[in-house]
Each structure stands twice: as C-alpha cells, then as structure tokens.
C-alpha cells in the first residue's frame, strides 16, 4: 500500500524538480535566518542564488554533530521560539544532548511520513499498533504515535519497559503491529516464553524495527520467533526521527527514502567526495522541508549504499541499504576503506552465528597488514588440521572477494579475545602514522 501515491511514485525528473525548488528555498532561508549557515557560506563565498542545480548541493559545506553541540540548545533553529511547538533531544553519552525543534507544520509532515512508513509495512485503518518505542525526549515513541493516529490506525502507547505487562497487553488487546527496537522484540519473545506465552497465538503480523543497527540474520530470527514480517525503519533525531526511510513489505530489499523531504548522498568519509549509486560510504542527508530545524548535508556517520533501481512495490524512491556500521569505525588499509561490520558479515556467513573476532591492523615496512583473529567454536572446530586450514583460507578468500583487501586469518581459542562489558574489543590499530 502506498499512502501518498502522488509523491511516492514520481518520475525522477519531476522529483528532482521538486527537490531543486525546495533546496533553493531552504538555502535562501537558512542563509537569512541561521547565523551558523550564513557564516559558513560567507566563508566559502557562497550566495543562496548560486544553487542552480541539484549538482550545486556538493558546493555546500557539511554539517556535523559538533556543529549542533556548538549551537546548544536552540542556536540552529530557523524560526523564532514562538513557532516551535515541540522539542526533542538525543541522548548524548558524553556531554550535552543535541536538541531539535518542530513547528506545527513539521509535526504534520512527520505524521504524514510515519503514515507512509506504516503503509509500506501494510498497516491500515483497523490495525492496532503496539508502540513500544520510548516516549519522551527520544523521537521514537511520539514520532510513531502521531503518525499512527494520522493514518487512522489505533495506537497503544506502551513505551519501553515493564515487559511482562507488555506481553499481557499483546495477549489482551490483540495488536496486529508492533513498533520497537529489534533487540527488544527478541527480549519480548524470551520473556513470553518464560511466561508460557506462544507468539504464534498472538495477532501480530508485522514489526517495524529500528533505532539500532541490525542484520539480515537477526531479521530471520525475529520473523521466525515472533511469527511476523520484520521491517527495517531508519531515522535520526537530527534529521527528524523515525520515518526517514522504510523497507517495503513487498521487496524487503533496502529502505525507501522519502526523497521529496530528504535529499540523500553517499560520500567517502575520508575524502568527503560524493560516491556514485551502489558504492558503500557515509550517508549524508539534507532536510528539504523542515521549518524549525533544517539541516544541510548532515553527516549521519552511518554507512550505507543507495540504489535507484525501480522497486516492485511501485515506489520510485531511492532505496538505502541496511546500515552497515559507523564511519568512525572505518579503517583505511592499503588505501581500501574497510568497515569492521563488513568483516563481521563475512564471518557470519561462514560460521552462521554471531562471530567473536578481532581485527589487528599493523604496518610492516610500507605495507599495512590486516590480521583477523577468529575464535573457534564447536560448530567450526574439526579434529583435522586440514579442515581448519580450509576454514582459514575460505575466510581469507571471502574477505578478499567482498572487501578487496587481503587479510591473514588466525584461529584462536574461545574467549581469548578480550571483552569489555560483554562486547569484544573489535579493532586494534597498531600503526604509527
């Protein structure tokens, strides 16, 4: 189902015409209203009138999280406070949070985008949505809440926590849709199992999961255990919150970005050059319609890809690949960009379980060396040396194949890779550069 057929199935040229018009108006507006942008554009000698085509977007400076912190709390707002009707903030693990604001119209736009998101997941009027995203400063709970009402479905504003009570509600209210983080969905399953509650007896048919990175393997697990379709949803508070992009139920192959509101780019996080469709890099987003808190070329730090090919659901909107990791984790090895998550994916494919590994980067003479230590588990262990050597070679081959960089794989004993707070230390970079 497509909520807004007019905007979700536009021919590319028509969409780009809308994007350009909106971008021009946006640059004009932030230049006049936000000192931060005016200063940045003056520094590079750029005037709003210089944006003549979408290609000119590349001339605009990036915005990063630190810029938001420097302008804490409301310095990046593009409207006077009397027009701001809502404030959200991200949970900064260190220091001050990043603060975002919404006008009345922003809240309406957001609600529409969530309605589109829900429709892509097959949700319609008559469905009951168990909304287990946290309500509060976090954008997840309230973001979904207003969109569910806008669509006309029923919302149960459960928020997070109190898992046993949630399971009671799942049984008694019979929701057909659940919105929560992927890890919480599995936690619900475990607790339900302990309580003797069978998910197959519930009415749930689809889960809209996001707010943390997850894998295809995890999707399989959630779908099997909860007996639902599980779809990946993406968003971040700096851009809007959830509803930036969603997988469609029909294809489950990449998340459609609502491009009439968000202009996506993929850049090389090292050179900052834009990359062509299909290549892996950092996702950069420009908000085209946000009033209170617009951002231009915001570096999300999330690693993804963009695919423009038409989708069988009928949407013409570009699809972004599942988030593969954070650009802060990127390693450059012999000139090749490598993300630990890519190595993890290779290991996952071979071992079939969440691998315990460690990446050790060093330099021998002028050459970078990449060693991947992999803990041997009972499933991969063999009492024949040859078999284990075959395993090592296979991992090395696949890393070379998928990442384009050669690695030396070393099998190590279980629990020999140091873990901090349950999570292993994934990368050790010994290079002195």
């Amino acid at each position: 189902m497509i909520f807004n057929e007019d905007f979700e199935t536009l021919p590319r040229e028509a969409l780009e015409a809308i994007q350009l018009r909106r971008l021009q108006a946006l640059v004009e507006r932030v230049y006049n209203l936000v000192p931060f942008y005016r200063r940045k554009y003056d520094e590079v000698g750029l005037k709003p009138g210089d944006v003549k085509s979408l290609k000119d977007l590349q001339r605009l400076p990036f915005t990063v999280k630190q810029d938001l912190r420097d302008n804490y709390p409301f310095g990046m707002f593009a409207v006077p406070m009397e027009q701001v009707v809502r404030i959200h903030a991200s949970s900064g693990t260190t220091g001050k949070p990043t603060v975002v604001g919404y006008t009345q119209r922003d809240i309406k736009t957001w609600a529409e985008l969530i309605a589109r998101t829900l429709s892509a997941a097959g949700v319609q009027r008559g469905d009951i949505v168990h909304n287990a995203y946290g309500y509060g400063l976090f954008t997840g709970g309230l973001g979904f809440h207003y969109g569910i009402e806008h669509l006309g479905a029923s919302v149960i504003p459960v928020s997070g926590g109190n898992t046993k009570r949630q399971i009671m509600l799942l049984q008694d209210f019979g929701p057909t849709v659940i919105t929560c983080t992927p890890s919480f969905s599995l936690h619900l399953y475990d607790v339900a199992k302990d309580m003797g509650v069978d998910f197959r007896a519930l009415k749930l048919k689809v889960g809209i999961c996001g707010a943390e990175p997850w894998s295809e393997a995890m999707r399989q697990e959630i779908e099997k255990k909860l007996n639902i379709d599980a779809l990946d949803v993406y968003g971040l508070s700096e851009i809007m919150g959830p509803g930036v992009s969603i997988e469609c139920l029909e294809a489950k192959n990449g998340l459609h970005i609502f491009e009439d509101h968000f202009l996506p780019e993929i850049i090389d996080p090292n050179t900052l050059e834009p990359l062509p469709y299909g290549e892996t890099g950092e996702l950069v987003i420009t908000t085209l319609t946000k009033e209170a808190f617009p951002v231009i070329r915001y570096r999300t730090r999330d690693i993804s890809t963009l695919h423009p090919e038409p989708c069988k659901c009928g949407r013409t909107l570009v699809r972004m690949g599942r988030i593969q990791g954070r650009s802060d984790d990127m390693l450059i090895i012999r000139g090749v960009n490598v993300f630990p998550s890519q190595i993890e994916a290779v290991l996952m494919e071979i071992q079939g379980v969440e691998p315990h590994y460690q990446i050790v980067v060093d330099r021998a003479g002028q050459m970078d060396t990449l060693e991947v230590k992999v803990e041997v588990d009972e499933a991969t262990f063999s009492d024949e040396v040859r078999q284990l050597q075959v395993l090592e070679k296979k991992i090395e081959h696949n890393i070379k194949d998928y990442l384009g960089v050669s690695a030396k794989v070393r099998l190590v004993e279980p629990r020999s890779i140091p873990r901090s707070e349950g999570k292993a230390q994934r990368v050790i970079d010994k290079r002195q550069i």
Binding site: V376, F381, S382, D383, V385, L388, R410, E413, R415
Partner: protein, 143 residues
C-alpha cells in the same frame, strides 16, 4: 568397536598443552593416549581418556573448544612389517588413514595404535575379516 576420542583446539603458545593436562589431572581423568597435530598458528590435541564425559565437561568449563571423533584402536603385531601389513589391508580397499598415533602403553607384546579413517565402518569390517585385533572402547579406556 569404536573408541571415543576427544579433541581440543589449542593456540600455539607456551603452556596451553600443560593447561589441558593440569585440568584433566585435577579432575582425576587419566590420559591413555595423546597426539598433537600443529601448524605455526594452532594445534589440535587428540586424546583418549578413561572418562570421556568428565574430560569434556571440565575442558569446556575451562573455556576450551572440544570436539568428539570416533576412532579405532588396533593391535599391531610387534614384529617387522607389522604396521605395514595393517596399512596394506586398508590401502588395497582404498581406505584412507586421516591420521594415526601410538598408544602410550603396550598390550602385552604388541603395540596399540589409534587410527582415524575416512570410512570407519568399512575399515572395521575389513580388519576384522583379516583377523586384526580391534579393541572395544571399554578395553581401551582401561588399558
């Protein structure tokens, strides 16, 4: 006719083999036969012990990756050509020896050798026909 062998993954670093024997010793498990196959990076320790389940349990408790393999314990005549005779029987039937190692103790005058074949059932059948003495598991664990 089959014997349970426990295998342990070891990194090639000092003290790991000693750690295994210490863990087993403290649990009162006796090692009857042992072989270590190693590369530059890692090794695989293969053991025949008197109490398989106990050995597996304590090794896992100490964080080792362990595996279980079925092997055959064969009595090889203690005379020139004794081993060659056994190997001849197998190669004539295209059975491959994955690996083999000697038992610590002798059984009377003859040597006991542990074999791992690619086709275990067929190997046992053939050796049996040729009158080669094959030990039962319980015999081996108590040798």
């Amino acid at each position: 006719m089959k014997v349970e062998q426990i295998s342990v993954f070891l990194e090639n670093k000092a003290g790991r083999l000693a750690e295994v024997t210490k863990v087993l010793g403290e649990a009162g498990v006796n090692i009857r036969a042992l072989s270590l196959a190693d590369t530059t990076d890692f090794g695989i320790l293969r053991l025949i012990v008197d109490h398989y389940d106990k050995a597996r349990e304590v090794l896992k408790q100490h964080g080792f990756t362990v595996g279980k393999t079925e092997v055959v314990a064969i009595e090889v005549p203690d005379r020139p050509g004794g081993l060659a005779w056994v190997l001849q029987i197998l190669s004539e039937s295209n059975i491959n020896v994955e690996y083999m190692y000697a038992f610590v103790q002798h059984s009377g005058k003859n040597a006991v050798i542990i074999f791992r074949f690619d086709n275990l059932e067929r190997a046992i059948e053939l050796l049996h026909q040729q009158g080669v003495r094959i030990y039962r598991g319980e015999e081996v664990y108590r040798l």
